[in-house]
Symmetry: C2
Subunit: 243 residues, 2 copies
Amino acid sequence: MAAATRTGTGPRDRFRAQVRQEVKTAALRQLAEGGPEALSLNAIAKQLGMTGPALYRYFANRDSLLTELVIDAYGDLAAELARTAEASAAEASEGDAATRLRALVLAYRAWALAEPHRYRLLFRAPLPGYDAQSTRLVEAAQPAMTVLLAAVGALAESTAEATDGTQGAGGAAVPEGTAAEFRAWGERHGFEDVPEAVAARSTMLWAQLHGLAGLEIEGNFASMGVDPSFLYETAVTDFARSL
Amino acid sequence: MAAATRTGTGPRDRFRAQVRQEVKTAALRQLAEGGPEALSLNAIAKQLGMTGPALYRYFANRDSLLTELVIDAYGDLAAELARTAEASAAEASEGDAATRLRALVLAYRAWALAEPHRYRLLFRAPLPGYDAQSTRLVEAAQPAMTVLLAAVGALAESTAEATDGTQGAGGAAVPEGTAAEFRAWGERHGFEDVPEAVAARSTMLWAQLHGLAGLEIEGNFASMGVDPSFLYETAVTDFARSL
DNA sequence: TGTACATCAGTGAACGCGCGTTCACTGATGTAC
DNA sequence: TGTACATCAGTGAACGCGCGTTCACTGATGTAC
């Protein structure tokens, strides 16, 4: 009992960390193979050559294992997006914000496609009997959004410069009520400097990507016989035009 | 055993039909309350004051009940969209295709919000051990798309008339490979007369809506503290502008 | 360097639960003469 | 109008299974003197 929260650096601690990782890996493999909720502690244990109760040395219970998987997945997605953003910033010609945003969009798609079971884990409803730690989860979701906001912000600025001197991210103006909500959201998570219009636009792009990725990983485009690559490209160009 | 597929009109048949409906209703209530897959035959039976095995008089097994729920849900969504389209066609001034499309978008959102468990049923991955009848499901999904295609087509035409004489639904041209895929899709489902550009645009709109609705019903906007109404409006105006 | 002790990973049995599904059956309901 | 029979809804017991979790335990590992 009492899943140890102690974190040391002794040999035992290193062993613990390793087994914890192996449990998570086995859990992900199970999610990938089985259906949405084929996550069974007993099955994981068996896969590691242990018995079920042994897992309680490493995780308090099933839910906290799941929570860690979700948080890890958010972290991975954000890391992947950040890596892409940096790589394309180093590579592309300085001012080409549109190209960088496109790279980000493709990275988002690629991640969802490479690990659909983890993508589902992020954007599905909380599983049955699982309301706990919603704060932790909301926080874990932020870094990925931050990368997107930065890229959209850069594109909005470069667009504004190209046309006139005023702030970009226009399209229709954001009504005051919504603008206030986005401002409050920004303040809560350290985006104070992001204009509301950029936040609103980023959210639209996120929804568009989420829609495309969601339909794609569930096989909707496949059953239509359509390769959605062009749709993602369209999403990028439409978006750039909307700023 | 042998779930009767006979369809008659005698008193026994009417009774059967009624009980089948009650089973479905109880199943939906269970999906609405419990988690994603809290669908249990035994629990349904208990709710109807029966024992588990009795349900096998009405449905071959759990999967075929689920399949019916999915097909019904597609049907309901399509019916709701069709009703909205007709109502707004009768009401709005003849040429106002944009207003009619907006009504459709709001109806889509409203349906997803009113019955999130059914919406999930439609757009989630096939559940564990559930590949059967995919053809039936693909067919069931078409009517809703048909309504959307018609509305987008009408808007595209009216936009084209307003500007010049050529076909609308432009934006970036659809590359030939993708165009061919959309044509084949149209031919397979009786949309031969829908231009590829309209099909592609409709799919983009569908993805945008799906993304917004998906994020909304899973509480992502709520946890941001943002009312997404404005985002749906933006989706409509952006879309109209993209034609 | 060696011994004594505390720590802790993992086991095996058990608890209570619910699941989908089959089977042989009973009793009521509708139908044919 | 009344009787005989076929149909079929629903029951209760059973099958075999897997689940998360607890508990008292054993044996190995690391640590302190």
